[in-house]
């Protein structure tokens, strides 16, 4: 549906109540995969490996191979379950989900079905407007990721119409935890914001637990958003759609908002919603139908006979519980106080999903104010222009390095913005970019004095005014000098020197 045909958002909310449900897949950063000793590409150590180099007979589903559960992945899953306030099952089971797809080496996925490791929890989510919402969690279960397909030829980049497809099994078997919420009622107009804030909170939790790299742009964190509408006053839930491929915080919000407006337009005209999977298109800001999904999908689940039940000891669970970091809400309150941010400043950080980035930047040595300024300012501006998340553009270490360069006087704010652009473009660390682009402030007074003398000499009228005590006239000279220095000078120092030279010259 073209955007013009959508129903106005406020009108949609007047007529319908949105109900959302969110499924978040978290890739764990364990050293090895879920069921095999192959290195795990979701751990940064192994990220970006050549295709099909991080594989064993198990990842490839070779005849005779058998899965073995990764104990670290189980411990990470329990920690995540506990952080989501879930109960941990004393015994949970793996099951086979059977379906044919070329990225699925065994043509079944080992997942958990009727006996997930964690169930019945909730997580507190704070919205940009300050509203705190408790999102009910139905379950969190362990499973393995599939491989990655690249479709070659054809216009859509999808499997239909492709000439051939390439399969990379590096990702096959990456440990995943899928967190499923219960239907979320009562978010009303905040539903899109809530979806975004919820995923951001899950990310904060995963990072604070250290169990995932949690980088959305790498697919460490993936969100499927279920949206349905019911007419005001109705009891029965409407038909839902599941939007996949929503791979940035901003697209989660946009996708939910789009689905609300799209479904409202259809329902208002007396149409019906098809229960289906939909794909989010970042470029057009729309969703399009994927394969129809119905309850008739038959995955022929049955208990995985190659694996024993997972039975963590109560001691292990308590040990992991004791090691949990503080809950997200308390964590946020503490950071806000520590950093001395105003409500508005802190909301700015939360709204950008940048809490972890700011915290890590501060931990890397930057002042809270500088960390906030660079993340919510320049980086967010560039991210918006690129339709992505600021977190994907730079690392906290890079931003801290930049702040230190500004602090030391090596960079002005203006130069720092240029350096950040370089960082976002992947040109290297701030220092490397400063060196490569020659962006450092000229701190050699000799070079400045030469430029000032030249400027004063070419503007004798200004020189006269300054000598008459009209100090503000120095601005013109300062501007000329900054221009001559291509901005690589500290304006305050230039001013000092201009006044000094003008005086001395007299």
């Amino acid at each position: 549906m073209a955007r013009a045909e959508l129903m106005d958002y406020d009108q949609a909310l007047e007529l319908f109540e949105p109900v959302i449900g969110l499924e978040v897949h978290v890739e764990l950063n364990t050293e090895t995969k879920m069921f095999s000793p192959a290195p795990n590409p979701a751990n940064s150590k192994f990220h970006g490996a050549e295709p099909n180099t991080l594989v064993t007979p198990v990842c490839l589903g070779l005849p005779g191979s058998l899965p073995v559960v990764n104990g670290d992945a189980v411990r990470s899953s329990i920690s995540l379950g506990l952080a989501l306030g879930c109960s941990i099952a004393p015994s949970s089971r793996f099951a086979r989900k059977n379906y044919f797809y070329p990225d699925l080496a065994k043509n079944y996925q080992i997942s958990q079905y009727d006996e997930p490791i964690a169930f019945e929890g909730s997580v507190e989510v704070e919205l940009p407007n300050g509203r705190v919402f408790r999102v009910p969690i139905e379950r969190a279960h362990m499973e393995e990721d599939a491989g990655k397909l690249t479709h070659v030829g054809g216009s859509t980049g999808r499997i239909q119409g492709a000439e051939y497809s390439l399969v990379d099994y590096n990702r096959a078997g990456v440990p995943l935890v899928e967190i499923v919420t219960k239907p979320i009622f009562g978010a009303e107009a905040d539903a899109p914001e809530l979806a975004k804030a919820y995923v951001s909170t899950i990310r904060d939790i995963a990072i604070s637990l250290g169990i995932s790299e949690a980088r959305m742009e790498r697919g460490n964190l993936r969100c499927d958003a279920n949206v349905s509408l019911r007419p005001r006053g109705a009891e029965k839930l409407g038909t839902r759609t599941e939007t996949k491929n929503v791979n940035s915080f901003r697209s989660i919000e946009r996708a939910v908002r789009y689905e609300i407006q799209r479904q409202a337009a259809i329902l208002a005209k007396g149409g019906t919603i098809t229960q289906e999977t939909r794909h989010w298109h970042e470029d057009t800001g729309t969703t399009s139908p994927g394969r129809p999904k119905s309850d008739a999908d038959d995955y022929r689940y049955f208990p995985e006979p190659d694996l024993l039940p997972v039975e963590p000891s109560p001691e292990l669970i308590e040990q992991l519980r004791a090691a949990l970091p503080e809950p997200p809400a308390a964590h946020r309150r503490r950071l806000k106080a520590e950093w001395g941010f105003t409500d508005l400043e802190f909301q700015d950080v939360l709204n950008g999903g940048l809490l972890v980035e700011v915290a890590e930047t501060v931990a890397a040595g930057a002042s809270p104010a500088a960390a906030r300024k660079w993340w919510t300012g320049e980086l967010t501006r560039v991210a918006n222009a690129k339709a992505t998340d600021a977190a994907s553009l730079a690392t906290p270490q890079q931003v801290a390095e930049l702040a230190a360069l500004v602090e030391a006087g090596t960079l002005t704010d203006r130069l720092a913005r240029q350096v950040l652009e370089g960082v976002a473009a992947g040109e290297g660390s701030p220092q490397q970019i400063v060196d490569a682009r020659g962006l450092a402030v000229v701190s050699d007074d000799g070079a400045l004095v030469a430029a000032i003398d030249e400027a004063l000499a070419s503007q004798p009228d200004v020189l006269a005014k300054i000598r008459d005590g009209k100090v503000q006239a120095a601005g013109a000279v300062i501007g000329a000098v900054m221009k001559a220095m291509q901005g690589k000078a500290d304006a305050a120092r230039v001013r000092e020197l201009v006044l000094e030279r003008a005086g001395n010259g007299g």
């Binding site: 073995v68 070329p102 043509n107 006979p305």
Partner: protein
């Protein structure tokens, strides 16, 4: 025929250790035997002459260098094609894996290599171990060396026939519902299905994961025990493998003594449904054991009669999922429809061409049994029966040390006789399936030849899980007692296979 091939693995091992014979000589003798008779028997799908001789030479060198070697070092062994072998074709009897060379060794294969055994090659089997006659091999049937017109049992007919026809002293088999024990029964050999989890399944091309177990196929109980000691033990690559240490099975055979042993006869498996000669040899064996101090007790296992039905739901269900990986994408056969096709069409065409009718039958059965709406009625009910069968075993073993049954209802039937009647074929496993459902160990030991047809008959003993040593005790004792009665091993009565082709030619000329 070289005397070397007549030796048991234990005796050959001793002569190798004493330096009376080299492994290269022993290996060559078996390779010669294969050349002489396998054209008639067709026990092997692949013989790796070069590598076998190289392995044998290596063992000889190590022995000459004074290295400490195990009791079976230098002894040749045949490997069922269900086990993957690095650098050696592994087809599981299926066209869909034709030409595939695995990049790794199954754990039992790695263990036999590490123990210095010499793999000769891969043995024939029903496709993906689905069958009781080896007729479902995509590469043609194996012939029973007792009568080449008859089946060698299945699915491990190749392993049993190779051992019975002196092509190898030892073989590895796999047993999902009787695929080691039933071939042993019809070929006059010894076959053991260990406790589920005793031997790693890593590298065994899965039929039904909760039922499959790898085990020894041999001519003597001691040989089975020696091989069992090599392959059993925990494997970190198989989550279902038992972590505990095992006692020596070979010691159990050497100390075999049935005095005071309580043997339960399962009355449901001692019925008119069994061939007269099979029952006769069964009861004679029991009487012999009784005369030597064992106590024979009748026990009831009321749920065994439902075992086949449950088995033929659980097995296809697991198999339908295990066989889904054969899709042409990563290994094995790929069939592209004329004019190309989508990945689904290529998968379908490959599976259509690569799987035989019995495999397709079971995939369809299993897919159906797991389908939403039928799961509880079929797979769910079958699992309940499985629990009841386990309870029957528990109740029986509360009163007796081991159970005894005939291994299979009949002696070897004729090739083709039951090929068009799947149900009749399935009934072959009526006595062997309960052990797989319960995970308990079983052994089949030769009990003589049926008077009516002169074909071998086996007796099966079953023990509680992890009590595999009891099987070697009772099996070893019976073997010794029967040998004393017969005066020679049963396989001494095997027809002379080396003249078979000559005879056939002469007959044809008449």
């Amino acid at each position: 025929m070289s005397d070397l091939i007549r030796l048991s693995a234990a005796d050959l091992g001793e002569r190798l250790a004493a330096g009376e014979v080299s492994s290269v000589e022993a290996t060559q003798a078996h390779l010669d035997r294969i050349t002489a008779v396998d054209g008639a028997v067709h026990a092997f799908l692949h013989v790796d002459t070069e590598r076998a001789l190289a392995t044998a030479a290596d063992v000889d060198r190590r022995r000459a260098a004074g290295e400490e070697l195990g009791p079976l070092a230098g002894v040749p062994i045949a490997i069922k094609d269900v086990l993957v072998t690095e650098g050696m074709p592994s087809t599981a009897g299926s066209r869909i894996l034709e030409g595939w060379i695995p990049p790794y060794d199954a754990t039992p294969v790695r263990l036999v290599r590490e123990a210095g055994l010499v793999p000769l090659g891969k043995t024939n089997m029903d496709e993906f171990a689905m069958g009781s006659s080896t007729e479902h091999s995509a590469y043609g049937p194996t012939h029973n060396p007792w009568d080449l017109e008859r089946i060698p049992g299945g699915s491990g007919g190749g392993s049993a026939a190779s051992v019975a026809s002196f092509e190898a002293p030892l073989a590895l088999g796999s047993d999902t519902g009787g695929s080691i024990r039933q071939p042993a029964h019809v070929t006059g050999t010894v076959g053991v299905k260990p406790t589920y989890g005793a031997v790693s399944r890593y590298g065994s091309i899965a039929l039904a994961s909760s039922l499959d177990q790898i085990g020894p196929v041999t001519r003597t109980v001691l040989d089975a025990a020696l091989l069992h000691d090599v392959i059993a033990g925990h494997d970190p690559h198989d989550s279902t493998s038992i972590p505990d240490a095992w006692p020596s099975m070979a010691d159990a055979v050497r100390r075999a003594d049935v005095a005071g042993l309580r043997i339960g006869v399962v009355k449901e498996l001692d019925s008119d449904g069994f061939q007269a000669g099979v029952r006769q040899r069964f009861h004679e064996s029991l009487e012999l054991l009784e005369r030597n101090g064992a106590e024979i007790v009748e026990v009831s296992a009321p749920h065994f009669e439902y075992a086949i039905a449950a088995y033929y739901l659980i097995l296809p269900a697991e198999a339908s999922s295990n066989l889904a990986k054969f899709d042409s994408v990563r290994f094995g056969l790929r069939v592209t429809p004329d004019g190309g096709g989508t990945v689904e069409q290529v998968m379908a065409a490959t599976r259509e061409a690569g799987f035989g009718p019995e495999v397709k039958r079971r995939i369809i059965l299993g897919t159906y049994a797991l389908s939403a709406g039928y799961y509880d009625a079929y797979y769910g009910s079958a699992q309940k029966v499985r629990t009841l069968v386990q309870r029957d075993f528990d109740a029986a073993f509360a009163n007796v040390d081991v159970l005894a049954t005939p291994t299979a209802p009949t002696t070897a039937f004729k090739l083709g006789e039951k090929l068009d009647d799947p149900l009749a074929m399935y009934l072959n496993d009526v006595a062997t399936i309960p052990a797989n459902l319960a995970g308990v160990p079983g052994i089949s030991v030769p009990a003589g030849l049926a008077p009516e047809d002169g074909l071998p008959v086996g007796i099966q003993f079953l023990a509680p899980a992890r009590e595999d040593a009891r099987l070697y005790n009772v099996g070893g004792a019976l073997e010794r007692l029967l040998l004393a009665e017969w005066g020679r091993p049963i396989l001494d009565g095997l027809p002379d296979l080396s003249t078979h082709e000559l005879l056939a030619t002469e007959e044809g000329a008449v």
